[in-house]
């Protein structure tokens, strides 16, 4: 007699189904009592020190009496909200860096509206970012500050530093795409690193949509791992459904994931065409405000941190930076997590902040 390849014990199956139903019922009970106000983010005290259009520059309240004299300016990506760096008490890169004595500033790019459709990368990098750097320099009476760029914000930090090396003392790049031609990443392929506009016609999309909707971007990110991000994650929720605190953490992360700003049309067009499709960052052909970005102009110390299991920015894409900067002081560090794990993994949050702090303090 041929056996069915999967042996299912009806009694055990019924028991598991009953347990699952019980968990779901308990989860519904838990979630029905959680209010939106409980799902807060941003644990570190901060205040706005500069505003321009929708960009806000925040300064975090130092947690030590005498913070490190050279402040750090964090540049986050446009495609998500920067509070991921300060998500909650036990998952906050910012808080950990503050506790170790750093003085932290953060650029919040805001939510572009339809009126921002014409903003270019020049506006973001030579406009908002440069203004933020100048404000921090002026507040501390320094010629140079430390710059920490994350993901797309890291690419911006590279461009900015290459254009203004005199203003940056040390550069930290975290999960930063550099070589957009790396074909390991599905995001790179979908965005057109191989077939260009045949994959994504950026000109046509901007003409049709103006700004690129955050929901469209999010849909793309979710479809990079369709089963894991659309099914498995929610099945896992059933297992934690009775733990109120863990459900709150889950919902906080969901809130962040789906809080995706629209992308200013012109800036998105240039980023897709010049960075993803033409891979101009490594060839020195990216032009920002009429000036060519030459990564070889980056001659200050560079700390390049990447995630081994990053499905958005393949490690090879970040590691490429070593080939194109001219600094003699280049350090690489990697962590065995994914893109988001860099902020939320307990192990990374134990090891990463001291790594950054020690590296910066050794280069004052």
């Amino acid at each position: 007699m041929i056996q069915f390849p999967i042996q299912i014990d009806p009694l055990q199956a019924a028991q598991e189904l009953a347990e699952l139903n019980l968990k779901i019922a308990q989860g519904v009970q838990t979630m029905s009592t959680i209010r939106d106000e409980e799902i807060q983010y941003g644990v570190s005290e901060k205040h706005a020190v500069y505003r321009e259009d929708k960009m806000v520059l925040y300064h975090f309240e130092p947690l030590v009496e005498q913070p490190f004299e050279v402040p750090v300016l964090i540049s986050y990506a446009l495609v998500n909200r920067p509070y991921m760096t300060d998500l909650q008490d036990n998952r906050s890169l910012v808080k950990n860096l503050l506790q170790l004595g750093l003085d932290i500033y953060l650029i919040d790019w805001g939510y572009p509206g339809r009126e921002d459709r014409w903003l270019t990368l020049d506006d973001y990098i030579n406009g908002y970012m440069d203004a933020a750097v100048d404000v921090v320099r002026a507040r501390h009476g320094l010629e140079q500050i430390n710059l920490l760029g994350i993901c797309q914000g890291g690419s911006f930090a590279l461009c900015y530093t290459a254009l203004n090396p005199a203003k940056v003392k040390n550069l930290v790049a975290m999960v930063t795409p550099v070589d957009f031609g790396v074909e390991d990443g599905l995001l790179n392929l979908w965005t057109g690193c191989q077939i260009g506009s045949e994959s994504v016609d950026a000109d046509l999309m901007v003409e049709a949509l103006g700004n690129i909707p955050g929901d469209f971007m999010n849909f793309g990110y979710l479809m990079l791992k369709p089963y894991q991000l659309n099914v498995q994650k929610y099945m896992g929720l059933a297992n934690i459904a009775t733990d109120r605190r863990r459900v709150q953490d889950f919902l906080r992360m969901e809130k962040w994931i789906f809080d995706s700003p629209d992308q200013a049309g012109e800036a998105w067009r240039q980023f897709i065409k010049d960075f993803y499709q033409a891979n101009k960052l490594i060839t020195g052909e990216v032009e920002i405000g009429g000036k060519q970005v030459d990564l070889a102009a980056i001659d200050m110390p560079v700390l390049n941190i990447y995630a081994d299991d990053d499905h958005l920015v393949p490690p090879a894409s970040s590691q490429a930076l070593a080939q194109y900067v001219s600094t003699d002081d280049y350090t690489e560090a990697n962590f065995p997590v994914g893109h988001i794990g860099m902020y939320v993994s307990g192990k990374v949050q134990r090891d990463l902040p001291p790594l950054i702090t020690d590296w910066l303090k050794a280069r004052k």
């Binding site: 020190v49 505003r51 321009e52 440069d130 404000v135 002026a138 009476g141 057109g192 077939i195 949509l209």
Partner: protein
Amino acid sequence: MRAQGKLLTATMNYRIAQREFVEIMAKQLDMPTRTEVDAAHKSIYTQRRELRALKHALAEANARIAKLETALAEQPVVAPAPAEAVAPVASDNGAAKQAASKRSSSKPAPKKPSTRKSTTGRSTKSRTSKQESED
């Protein structure tokens, strides 16, 4: 990926065609269109850029002025004219000292550099100058 790209392109072309159709209707009804609003936004954007460039130019000019003023203030004081340096007669010593003191204090004080309260990008040099003059 090519098939996906074609789907995306077709969707975008449909959206553009839909907008063109709606805009024909909107014009008939004397209503503003997306194209017109985009043009207005572009005009505002261009002016925002010009404003930012002007602010930068103004900040740089102010920084240069502040630097020059600081340099002027730090120049050595010119020695008094020989006629004023004549020693007063013994009986009028106190009055002369007062007069000399008055002359000295009436010398124009170094002008403080113009400080900008605006939070736009202020160069470090201008801030240093300000601190020096206040010290």
